[in-house]
Amino acid sequence: MVKLLIKGGRVVDPASRRDGRFDVLIDKGLVADVQPSIPGNGAKVIDASNMIVVPGLVDLHTHLRQPGREDQETIESGCRAALAGGFTTVCAMPNTTPAMDQRGIVDLVHQEVLRLGLADVRPIGAITKGREGKELTDFGELFDAGCVALSDDGSSVADAFLMRRALEYATLFGRPLIQHAEDPALAADGVMHEGLVSTTLGLRGMPAEAESVMVARDLALAELTGGWIHFAHLSSAKSVELIRQAKRRGVRVTCEVTPHHLALTEDAVEGFKTDAKVNPPLRTEQDRLGLLEGLRDGTIDCIATDHAPHTDWEKEADFDAAPFGISGLETALAVCATTLVTPGRLSWPQLIEKLALNPAKLIGSPAGTLRPGVEADLTIIDPAATWTVDPARFVSKGRHSPFAGRTLTGAVVRVLRHGSEVEA
């Protein structure tokens, strides 16, 4: 196998505190060396001048839809979309049909991932059978099968007693439970954030408190049990503040935010745009600023896409009827670069920490770094490239994005997986 030498790029690797011009040598699929200058010696050279070289991105929150809704996405189309977006590892959410609540379904996903050899896929099992919030799944079996966390995502675990037991029991395994924090009674049958835009459009709203009430409850339960709670896709400033305080008290809590909650507000729904219908909903500018601050001060550990592809016929319906969710993998990096790095809110190393290192640590993966010895999963970014989002050209089967038509800065130019260039 020929050696690869990535020359002259700006290497951003927060795990080894590297941010500067380095050459990266790849041998036998592993990162062999990172030095200011490495001689070619017969290696195939990739010129990375003016580019940023980062560890392959890691997405904590991807809906691959297989098994069950292969018309929305397959493991293959989802993995290709991930690579197109610079992600070499994705965590597959368990709201498949049937739900990922037992070993057989996890094995099925693993087999397909192995057959494809595209991105690394780490399954997340369900907390309750059928994600119905009634009976716990066999946690041990799911973790043994390779699940990196458990979640009923799409729904909240509403029953406080059951959540308490789940957190308590999960301490056996040292893995997080991921909560989609939403009090179902407070969210009622809302379709967007409750505020000025819902008032204007006459759409049913969900208050920010539907999230923060559940966050407060689960923080208390994590404190009670010593269990590890991870909150998915935070949307409100109040939730961030609650988690900030809990972290100070030493509660075992981590959390993530999506690029769309960092970039957009409820205003994106104007005109009844179902491409901006997501759950949790896009909220106010004040919430957005709270999320940005949480990201900056470390309260929010990770950025995750909540890539949730749907078919055209489902999304092109009236706002009430359209499902929640957008296609996020292929725009995530550029949205973050444009929203966070360009205005100086985060540096590139801070962004890569949130998009690669922290999520990798959270799932116990050695990925997320370019330290010598690790598998060479690596993404090369052109930080100056600008492009206009055209969902019709997405690799994902999901062609719905609130960023359609927006011009973004920062583009993924090459992705290496185990040292080999992969094409989406």
Partner: protein
């Protein structure tokens, strides 16, 4: 027919929109143009032969995904009095979310070469979705809790008729503002024409940040009763109790219902309006609904002229400067 000779606003305003989806999108001039056009159509319904050939050869479809008798009938008669052919389609919106979509239905109608779609739907924004996907003009006959533009237009027309003006009047809209498309359309229309609007109801029925739409909020009827030139009462739905928005219809009546005793505290000459159907003995006492201040049936009559005007304007031809008959 004889068009009115003096038409100050519409001398400059022309109808240029494909659809009528809401009053939010309309300018004050466009609203006045509709009211003036309605004025010129009003007397047709008073003739022995209530028909003009303005829309002869045009096909109007009443596409109602939510049951309605009053609005549907009003549009149907309006179309017939303009000599249009009209087809009524009552589709249950519940069956549409699965399989055949509203858009499929509309594509079929478009293939049948209809000229105007009048759409009512339980989902806010459904007529907007449809309007974006068809070349056929769309009139919103009520979408969820969003807008009901022709209702607000007939309300404006009625206020103008009875009070001689709209600007400077104090209008109180009382009831379930949160779930009312009539309230939203009236808020846009009344504020654009210079009225001062207060929405009144218990906190559970007032939507968040509604002040930012340019209205005032009152939680007690007493705060608006003495000052209002117009009291616009909304129908209170029985289902609101189930969602804990009001404790009971009785409690609502006791605090917000208008009966003769309450009316005695109102301004002399106050207009009592209601989009119908009235919940007698809840938001409005029978004696008041049928009393001297009530203009509820005038609203119904004026609805015809408004809907004739709207059908005529969105049909595109002939334009405002041409004689329709």
């Amino acid at each position: 027919m004889a068009m009115t000779t003096t038409r100050p606003a519409s001398q400059t305003a022309r109808w240029t929109k494909k659809d009528l989806l809401g009053l939010r999108e309309l300018s004050a001039e466009e609203i006045r143009l509709i009211l003036e056009t309605a004025e010129s159509f009003r007397e047709i319904s008073l003739r022995p032969i209530k028909k003009v050939p303005a829309l002869r050869g045009k096909t109007v479809v009443n596409l109602f995904f939510e049951p309605s008798t009053r609005t549907r009938t009003s549009f149907e008669l309006a179309a017939k009095r303009l000599s249009a052919d009209i087809v009524n389609i009552a589709a249950q919106s519940s069956s549409l979310s699965k399989g055949e979509t509203a858009l499929d239905t509309v594509r079929n109608l478009e293939a049948l070469k209809v000229d105007i779609l009048v759409i009512r739907h339980a989902a806010a924004g459904a007529p907007h979705l449809i309007a974006r996907r068809t070349h056929t003009p769309v009139i919103n006959a009520g979408d969820g809790a969003h807008e009901h533009p022709t209702q607000a237009l007939l309300d404006l027309f009625t206020i103008q008729e009875k009070k001689g003006r709209i600007a400077g009047l104090r209008v109180a809209i009382v009831g379930d503002i949160a779930h009312s498309r009539v309230a939203r359309s009236n808020i846009w229309g009344l504020t654009k024409l210079g009225a001062s609007v207060t929405v009144c109801g218990p906190p559970t029925l007032i939507p968040p940040q509604v002040e930012q739409l340019g209205v005032q909020v009152a939680h007690r009827l007493e705060e608006v009763l003495a000052e209002a030139d117009v009291l616009m009462l909304l129908r209170i739905q029985h289902e609101r109790q189930e969602r804990h928005l009001i404790p009971s219809l009785r409690e609502y009546r006791l605090r917000y219902g208008i009966d003769r005793e309450r009316l005695a505290h109102a301004k002399p000459g106050v207009l009592i309006m209601h989009p119908g159907p009235v919940n007698r003995g809840v938001e409005l006492d029978s004696a008041v609904a049928e009393g001297p201040y009530s203009v509820i049936l005038d609203q119904v009559t004026n609805g015809l002229a408004i809907r004739m005007a709207v059908l005529y304007l969105v049909s595109g031809a002939p334009k405002a400067d041409e004689e329709p008959a």
